[in-house]
Amino acid sequence: MKHTISVLVENRFGAFNRVATMFSGRGFNVHSISIGETEDPEISRMTLVTSGDDQIIEQVVKQLNRLIDTIKVVDLTGQPRIERELALITVFYQKGTRPELTNICDIFRGNIVDINNKTLTLEITGPPDKIDAALNVLAQYGIKEIARSGTVALKRGEQAKIQPKISTTKEKEKV
């Protein structure tokens, strides 16, 4: 099963690499990783989408916690959360298909952000399955290139808490 894990890490040389190295070294799956600064410039937030059975996910969370540069690890799966991904999709068009593509873009609440005589580029934002759905529809027109940002996610409402089972190591930090 897919899990979305939010990790606060020190915004510092090598911190991202440490997480990536740990994932490859331990053979954990990664479907997407995204990283960016937070409200605190010393802290970055990574959003990881991974998969595995319960025992593996428990190990993923624990191993993330074990890294010195990680401040807080939250498995958002099963919790009320907002998940978004951004995709830039360049598709081929012909005279006749351009209105159709504009229409599809509207249905997915996207924007057309670039156009030339052969292709146009759509920007679509949403939960990952919405992006998948858009890509499915667009496939028939011929997709030239795709860039996906990977998922970013936040827990809804109140302050996110880390899972009790691994809380022993790093429960101190509030962000």
Partner: protein
């Protein structure tokens, strides 16, 4: 205030930090990127620098020192090849949770990434094999980084930390201030086991019929051997130890079942599979211990005490996890035990297993065997020596036959299984421990992997007893070839290509002996132990094709041990 603070160079700050951390020894090797540090070292008098003859030797020496003393081992090497030569030792320390700090020189910050002369991305290389690593980009961060390095290496589950020091950082100056305390927001290593969980463990133990303590190296690292002893003694509990756990509980005590796992005792493994309560203490259910996980100790309720949450539920799912300092948990658990379990039937069963399949010691055929040599060393030293083994058959025979009575006495590369560990690690141990004999025991293969360090021992007149168990084979590999690889002894026979070890040792300046006669062993040991102003070498020429039993074949259940050689063709 600020104006009063002294400006110091990075190199001076470096040594001031080591002074504050009370470092006694640095194991190292100089080179271009660390010349400034060696310039200062020339006049430093509060610590001793030990020049090894290879950077791998320096890391193993630091491991030996750390493991024998519980202090942090310190290594200093140059950039590029100096740094890459430390990799095996760092990986070894990572697998066996040994606190060492490796300081590596680095090319100047401006040149990093340019393929400069003697540049290696040692940060990238060691990221997966260090507990943490640091690149110091500014001399202002140097003191705090060193403080953090010591803190991280020595707390929680210990491990190696690497600190990369660019040349310009060492040369620049700033005000020196050593932080009193370190705060790392993502690292809170000390915590105590949950009280309710400990109470629950005590309840389980009180009503257990067939309890077993499964003790790993974590008990020694936490300093909890006394607490373990009291818990076991007061409740009459059988104790089995992992390779790294040996010494946590006296091997001479009736409650000790010896080692468990692949080459563990028959009775320990039977006990693991028949117990109704298994209490794992600072151990990690390594595959060499569990054998086939699907059949591992199926009848037991499992309690796992470990300071590292990742160790729990990694290989074996347990019923009651207790994350915390093992020493503390042991003490609490013992104090909760207001009644003791009644386990006399369980002990009868264990005694029965002991008789069923004892170790076969000596064939009485006049040939010299490793088991016999180890027994004699154990008797001679009363189990009180620091034994530094290498990797292979001799290592397993030591684990089986040396009766360790003290913690921090069995130094061996368990997790990584690094041949070449023993010689340099024993040197580190000899600097840390002066009141007990230090014995390095290697195979004829592994001895040649860091043989250059003999001169380091000679140079410092260390009274180490270097022993080689010469079976003219890469014995452990040969054993697997015989058992599982169609008797194809591919590249494991060294009988025509070993050097004359005694002469080699003599050339290095050791007092050197060699024997193949069991009758000579005791007198040779006496002679060797009488020499204490320099290192001594003894070669034991043992039978060639002996095998370590009992054995759980890789991937088999620990209940199914091979107890003796079945192939009559290869009987020796």
């Amino acid at each position: 205030m600020k104006e009063n603070k002294q400006k110091m160079s990075g190199a001076d700050i470096f040594f001031e930090c080591l002074r504050k951390e009370k470092v006694e020894y640095i194991f190292g090797y100089p080179g271009g990127a660390v010349l400034k540090l060696y310039e200062k070292l020339y006049d430093v008098d509060f610590l001793e620098h030990i020049l090894t003859r290879h950077e791998q030797g320096a890391t193993h020496a630091a491991e030996g020192y750390a493991k024998a003393t519980g202090k942090v081992g310190v290594v200093l090497v140059t950039s590029g090849p100096g740094a890459t030569n430390t990799v095996t030792g760092i990986a070894d320390a990572y697998m066996d949770s040994i606190p060492i700090i490796v300081f590596t020189g680095q090319v100047p910050t401006k040149l990093i990434g340019n393929d400069a002369f003697q540049e290696a991305d040692i940060m990238g290389i060691t990221r997966p094999i260090t507990k943490h690593n640091f690149l110091v980009r500014d001399v202002k961060e140097l003191a705090e980084t060193i403080r953090k390095a010591f803190f991280i290496a020595s707390t929680g589950r210990p491990g190696p930390v690497l600190v990369d020091l660019p040349k310009d950082v060492i040369n620049s100056v700033c005000e020196f201030e050593y932080p009193e305390k370190v705060e790392i927001r993502g690292y809170k290593p000390t915590f105590l086991g949950h009280q309710n969980q400990i109470k629950k463990a005590a309840e389980m133990l009180k009503k257990a019929k067939r309890p077993l303590l499964y003790v790993g190296g974590g008990v020694i690292m936490s300093g909890g051997t006394r607490e373990l002893y009291l818990l076991a003694k007061e409740n009459n509990l059988p104790v089995t130890m992992t390779l790294q756990g040996l010494g946590a509980f006296p091997g001479t005590d009736d409650l000790s079942l010896g080692m468990l796992g692949m080459h563990g005792t028959y009775w320990a493994n039977q006990a693991v599979n028949s117990c109704d309560l298994l209490i794992a203490l600072g151990a990690r259910f390594d595959d060499r211990v569990t054998g086939k996980v699907e059949t591992f100790s199926l009848k037991s309720y499992k309690i796992h005490v470990d300071v590292d949450p990742t160790a729990i539920d990694k290989n074996i799912l347990v019923d009651l996890p207790i994350v915390g300092d093992v020493k503390h948990v042991l003490a609490e658990l013992a104090s909760e035990m207001d009644e003791h379990p009644d386990i006399s039937d369980w002990w009868k069963q264990i005694e029965k297993w002991k008789k069923e399949c004892p170790f076969e010691l000596d064939a009485n055929d006049g040939k010299l065997r490793t088991q016999f040599v180890i027994e004699k060393i154990s008797e001679k030293t009363k189990g009180e020596a620091v034994i530094v083994s290498d990797v292979g058959q001799h290592q397993m025979w030591i684990a089986q036959h040396y009766k360790f009575v003290h913690p921090r006495s069995h130094l061996t590369s368990g997790g990584l299984g690094t041949m070449g560990f023993s010689v340099p690690a024993s040197i580190g141990a000899a600097f840390g421990v002066k009141d007990r004999p230090i014995i390095s025991i290697s195979g004829d293969g592994g001895f040649q992997m860091n043989i250059q360090e003999l001169i380091t021992a000679v140079a410092h007149k260390l009274p180490i007893k270097f022993m080689v168990i010469n079976n003219s084979f890469l014995g452990m590999v040969r054993q697997w070839q015989e058992l599982f690889h169609a008797e194809k002894y591919s590249f494991t026979d060294l009988s025509k290509s070993n050097p004359d070890f005694r002469k080699v040792a003599e050339a290095f300046g050791l007092a050197a002996f060699s024997t193949d006669n069991p009758k000579e062993v005791e007198s040779l040991l006496d002679e060797a132990f009488a020499i204490n102003d320099r290192p001594v070498f003894i070669e034991f020429k043992v039978v060639k094709e002996d095998m370590v039993f009992p054995m759980v074949p890789a991937g088999a259940s620990i209940g199914e041990m091979m107890t003796k050689r079945l192939n009559p063709k290869t009987m020796v």
